[in-house]
């Protein structure tokens, strides 16, 4: 059997292609981005014409994936954990409409917040929507679960969530592929009212979803991904969710774990396994990546008094990602520590690249605002968030996609004038346009900086939905064209940039200043590609 060395995210991309999808929908976000990139570049996917272009945001992506499912074909939508907040309306309601063609929503959580604003656990969302959740413990399971997940979705008639975390997403291991399943033909739902959530229909469909819960649990009980492993010492039980199962195994390299273990990779948690555990165990330890979802659940689900430990009890830290050492400590095993880090080692935080246009923009902004008190710049999610760090220290907020525009407006409403928003091109089309419309309709006195590097840079330079459209969008929303200014952020234009800031700060209304210069990383990539084309014109 040939093994492919796949990142977890690549295994998911391959699983979707081999599972017969006709389209993938996504907005880039670490650690989920490479799922879609893999499909965009995969030869078989290109050959089959699988639809894979980036969407404007996670909500539009989700709805389009649901539309493809409505039409009878299999589709997948991918996002990082906070992206599901954006798509939540569509997500929750799609559990009630149900699906037609199989639909998988793959969500990549980021415990320890390596590249995120929070470490929310998507299993909560899955439970909230009352749909089955698959949580692979390794790259092979990630591939298999996605490949087979469309059929599961069709059988249970609801979307299925695949939940992974950073460590699985960005770790490589050997994966064996299975046969490629065919795509589905267009075939509309048998019941034409299925997707019409008018109250009378929604009530009926919601009852149906409630009735299906038992089936979901039974299916999880039978799932090959869940396993009840009896131990010699039956007094102590361990529930190991998803990738946590590996950290448990790491502590028993000879496979000699003496305790009863429930490997849990498909939810809802099967009550039968809990009942079985409750018969013998006096204490149960829960190992889970993220929030104490299972720990809270089993406390109520055990029908007798069993001591439950995990992230809530303090056996494991309440926050951050798990590892084998933390699991060893929770098991009372000794851990080994190498030498200490010498005191002279300092942090090396990420920084804006040398030559990046955001730097020139921030230098001009800082000078223009120098005469005012600090705390007037609201920013957003992207490379330019690094403007919060020295030497710039320019921005005072980074909350969620698009919040710069609306928070600047709210602060201006409160009387903070001048009030400035700094947002990137792709974040602007993701969630900034509606906020700008609010500002225009309310005649807010704000300056909106769109720092346009013509790509989604933080996640690796994906194509931006905003490309070539920013000025016309702003004018279309109602910004006075005299106050839509476009500049090139370069050192030699510094004085002009400062002057433009001063003019627009003086204007009592909504101003948009677009600073447009290609991302330095994208430019380097483009030049390398052009050189290659020149050297090998036939390739």
């Amino acid at each position: 059997m040939q093994k492919n060395l796949f990142l977890g995210v690549e295994a998911i991309g391959q699983g979707a292609i081999d599972g017969g999808i006709s389209g993938v929908y996504a907005y880039p976000g670490t650690p989920s981005t490479e799922i879609t990139e893999f499909i965009q570049e995969n030869e078989l996917a290109l050959q089959k014409g699988i639809r894979s272009k980036w969407s404007a945001n996670e909500k539009t992506a989700y709805e389009a994936a649901l539309g493809m499912s409505y039409a009878g074909k299999r589709s997948m939508v991918c996002m990082k954990h906070v992206g599901l907040n954006v798509a939540a309306d569509a997500f929750i309601n799609s559990a009630i409409t149900g699906i037609n063609g199989g639909l998988i929503v793959t969500v990549a959580d980021d415990p320890s917040m390596h590249s995120s604003q929070n470490e929310q656990d998507s299993r909560f969302y899955g439970k909230f929507a009352m749909i089955p959740i698959l949580e692979p413990s390794n790259q092979q399971e990630a591939y298999d679960m996605v490949r087979e997940g469309f059929e599961l979705s069709e059988k249970l008639e609801v979307p299925v969530m695949v939940r992974i975390t950073t460590r699985l997403a960005h770790s490589r291991a050997g994966v064996v592929r299975s046969e490629v399943l065919p795509e589905k033909e267009v075939l509309l739902p048998a019941d034409p009212s299925q997707f019409v959530l008018l109250p009378a229909i929604a009530r009926r469909r919601y009852k149906g979803l409630l009735e299906k819960q038992e089936l979901f649990e039974k299916t999880a009980k039978k799932s090959k991904y869940n396993e009840y492993i009896k131990g010699e010492d039956k007094s102590f039980g361990i529930i190991a969710c998803g990738i946590a199962f590996n950290y448990l195994k790491e502590n028993y390299p000879k496979g000699d774990c003496p305790y009863t273990v429930l490997k849990l990779s498909q939810y809802p948690v099967p009550q039968k396994y809990l009942d079985k555990m409750a018969k013998h165990c006096e204490e149960v330890l829960v190992l889970e990546e993220g929030y104490p979802v299972v720990e809270e659940h089993i406390k109520a689900a055990f029908k007798k008094d069993i001591q439950v430990s995990g992230r809530l009890s303090g056996a494991l830290p309440r926050d951050g990602e798990l590892n084998a050492d933390l699991v060893a400590k929770a098991l009372g095993k000794e851990t080994q520590l190498g030498a200490d880090v010498p005191d002279l080692v300092v942090n090396r935080p990420p920084a804006l690249c040398q030559g990046c246009g955001h730097q020139d923009m921030y230098k001009a902004l800082n000078q223009a605002l120098d005469k005012y008190t600090k705390g007037r710049v609201f920013s957003d999610i992207g490379c330019y968030t690094l403007g919060a760090l020295p030497p710039y220290k320019s921005i005072y907020s980074c909350v969620d996609m698009g919040a710069s525009v609306t928070m600047a407006k709210g602060a201006a409403d409160a009387g903070l004038i001048p009030s400035v928003a700094v947002i990137g091109d792709s974040t602007f089309t993701h969630s900034g346009i509606t906020g700008l419309l609010d500002a225009v309709n309310d005649e807010a006195n704000i300056v909106v900086v769109i720092s346009d590097n013509e790509s989604v840079s933080m996640t690796g330079g994906q194509e931006s939905s905003a490309l070539g459209k920013i000025e016309s969008i702003c004018a279309g929303v109602g910004v006075d064209p005299n106050h839509i200014r476009v500049l090139t952020p370069l050192k030699k234009y510094h004085d002009m940039m400062v002057q433009t800031f001063e003019e627009e700060i003086a204007y009592d209304g909504v101003s948009v200043i677009v600073f447009r210069r290609e991302c330095i990383q994208a430019a380097a990539k483009r030049l390398r590609k052009e050189k290659k084309m020149k050297d090998n014109p036939n390739k």
Binding site: K3, L5, L7, T30, P31, T33, E34, H114, S115, R167, L168, H170, S171, R172, A173, G174, I243, N246, Y247, K249, E250, P253, N323, A324, D325, A328, T335, Q336, L337, G338, A339, D340, V341, P342, L344, V345, V346, N347, R348, P349, P350, A351, L352, C353, C383, L386, P390, M458, T459, G460
Partner: protein
């Protein structure tokens, strides 16, 4: 056989290309492999690490436990020190001595090198200088790969074949230059370990 390696460096220095050459060699040897990478924000000039685990039996966790790494392979000296808690008492530190200074408070370079020399098992090599002498500064990562090879439990010829394969698209001259870089690193480590 089991080799647990922490690869360390700064975002943009190319530690993942080193990891991929070792990874290819391991897969060609039918070994099991897991390799956890840093993607996202840190790739913008921040500290980055990769956990590379190679074994002849199945590997459980994607991350190396503390105190269990056989090797820290770092393309930057301060970054080598950052991961010492992962290194086993018998493990080796193999590091480039050329610092990558992109922060204002980078410590005194001699003090950093003195800390490395305090380690019980180390190879400290000026890979940038050796690469420049060979004729291409950009080959410093291949020099580092050579310096790490005595500690990988994979035959040097297998790694060298991987290098030849990866650079073959760029022509025989580039392959030959990288072979030289690899050998220079390997020879240095054999003489100084």
């Amino acid at each position: 056989m089991k080799t647990d390696i922490i690869l360390a460096g700064v975002g943009g220095q190319g530690i993942l290309s080193i990891a991929s050459i070792i990874g290819d060699a391991a897969i060609n040897e039918n070994l099991f492999l897991k390799q956890a990478e840093t993607h996202g924000m840190s790739q913008r000039g921040g500290a980055v690490q990769s956990h590379l685990r190679i074994s002849d039996c199945e590997i459980a966790a994607d991350l190396i436990p503390m105190g269990k790494a056989d090797l820290i392979l770092s393309v930057e000296p301060m970054e080598a020190l950052r991961y010492l808690p992962f290194l086993s008492p018998e493990g080796y530190v193999v590091t480039n001595t050329t610092p990558f200074i992109n922060i204002p408070n980078y410590p005194d370079v001699d003090a950093v090198l003195a800390e490395i020399e305090k380690q019980p098992h180390f190879v400290a090599i000026d890979a940038d200088k050796i690469a420049a002498e060979i004729g291409n500064k950009r080959a410093s990562n291949v020099v580092m790969l050579g310096a790490a090879t005595p500690f990988l439990n994979i035959e040097p010829e297998k790694i060298e074949a991987g290098i030849a394969h990866i650079f073959s698209r760029k022509g025989e001259a580039v392959v030959e230059m990288n072979r030289k870089a690899f050998k220079a690193g390997l020879d240095f480590a054999m003489a100084n370990k």
